[in-house]
Symmetry: D2
Subunit: 142 residues, 4 copies
């Protein structure tokens, strides 16, 4: 299986800053894998917010269909992390977001997130609205 190369800071057009908490640690002494999932979610949420604008009045929702996280090295409390996000694929009704998670400048995890655009009424997949598609295109690699 050939994996894509590890991401670098320059790959990501969109950034989210988060701060580690004691509750993010576990009895192995490091930041818990689930907490790293929360950091990915924080990055996804800010990217979605930036791409879709206000939640009010929207006729679509984004549901998370798949999250795959590669844990590359341990990190420890205290500290701040930066989550870089990049749209890597735009399907008819789905978006793929790749993320790199950095502490200081070291990559400690990467993630691939697949989101599906749902019609708020029917809760079924719908084509990505054109204004959202335009915004997401701006978060793809140039």
């Amino acid at each position: 299986m050939s994996r894509p190369p590890l991401p670098a800071i320059a790959d990501f057009p969109f950034w989210t800053d988060e701060k580690l908490r004691i509750a993010d640690t576990d009895h192995n002494g490091h930041i818990n894998n689930g907490a790293i999932g929360q950091l990915c979610e924080a990055g996804r949420a800010e990217l979605i917010q930036a791409a879709t604008g206000d939640r009010e009045g929207r006729d679509f929702a984004l549901a998370v269909a798949r999250v795959a996280i590669d844990y590359l090295r341990e990190i420890h409390y205290p500290g701040r992390v930066r989550i870089g996000s990049l749209v890597t694929r735009l399907g008819t009704s789905s978006v793929t977001v790749r993320q790199g998670l950095f502490m200081d400048t070291a990559l400690f995890a990467q993630a691939e997130n697949v989101l599906v655009i749902l019609d708020t009424q029917t809760r079924r997949p719908m084509a990505i609205p054109s204004s959202l598609r335009a915004n997401l295109l701006n978060m793809m690699k140039k």
Copy 2:
């Protein structure tokens, strides 16, 4: 300051069982204080559910005004805990719930929770509805 005596298993008419998770631990190697707050919340929620019945169609809500937790001893993953709950005071629009948290038969924490009954429309305190008051009376010490 005189404190009430520590609670015993026989004091509690209502019980909730929970199971510890790795994410409940922290880098001190024990169950995190915040996770113990989640266990208290689990007990409160089941007591409220038992006393109020279905959430649907209710014209009141219960808001948590105060939670005070005494941490008596450390506990460690893995394991199960039991949360005993007892209504200790019924005011006009507030309820006080005392809790004892046990692992095996050892008390490791106790909590006092003050809940306020709110009118769903106005979000202001309202008198405890009579059927709810009757149910809560059944959860007081005989």
Copy 3:
């Protein structure tokens, strides 16, 4: 991309029971994706515990290298979930565990976890000890 078929209850030799908490919910009204990650972790931890025995005196550790979760449908509080786990691959120093997460009998998520066996001293990958390998073989599909 061809995906393996969705797992069924009968596929899993190892089971973990968990109970949902209010803190597992989020403002979308459902169980948060990160909380579902905690449920996968609970299943992994119990499988590892069953396969390796006591943590004391072990000269190896298991590190999580990758977790990929497919979110198939929303679930809601309150309730209990069952996490089925199955070893699908045994490499020289890595183990792949597939999981199916069920509420009542409905599959709501599946996960693939890759674990690496590390030498506790060097923190580098080491060959799976033979007794652990034997135990993990028992958790593969017959």
Copy 4:
């Protein structure tokens, strides 16, 4: 019961900044009470860190004996919060820390935390070391 007046921003000599996460929300649509406990813990941890310096080589530990939180109003994701901390009492082997939690400039919760200084060897309470006492005195109201 006469309660002390609600705290104001000017009361607190020590501040911690935190950022809300989606995982902090619950199905009531607001930030979960337990997540507010995590914010108090973040403030406690930074105050302890500032007062005690490096964890390495210390012969004492601080254990949380009691946390009482008053929930004054709901807050919602997204946003940042500031936690002000103030030492209000120094006993022989215990410290009381009062906290005010603010979003924008509005107080939404307050907390009282009682910490006990433990001898790392015996795990029993010990007198507050003089250098720690001096640092904690600087975090009391002038």
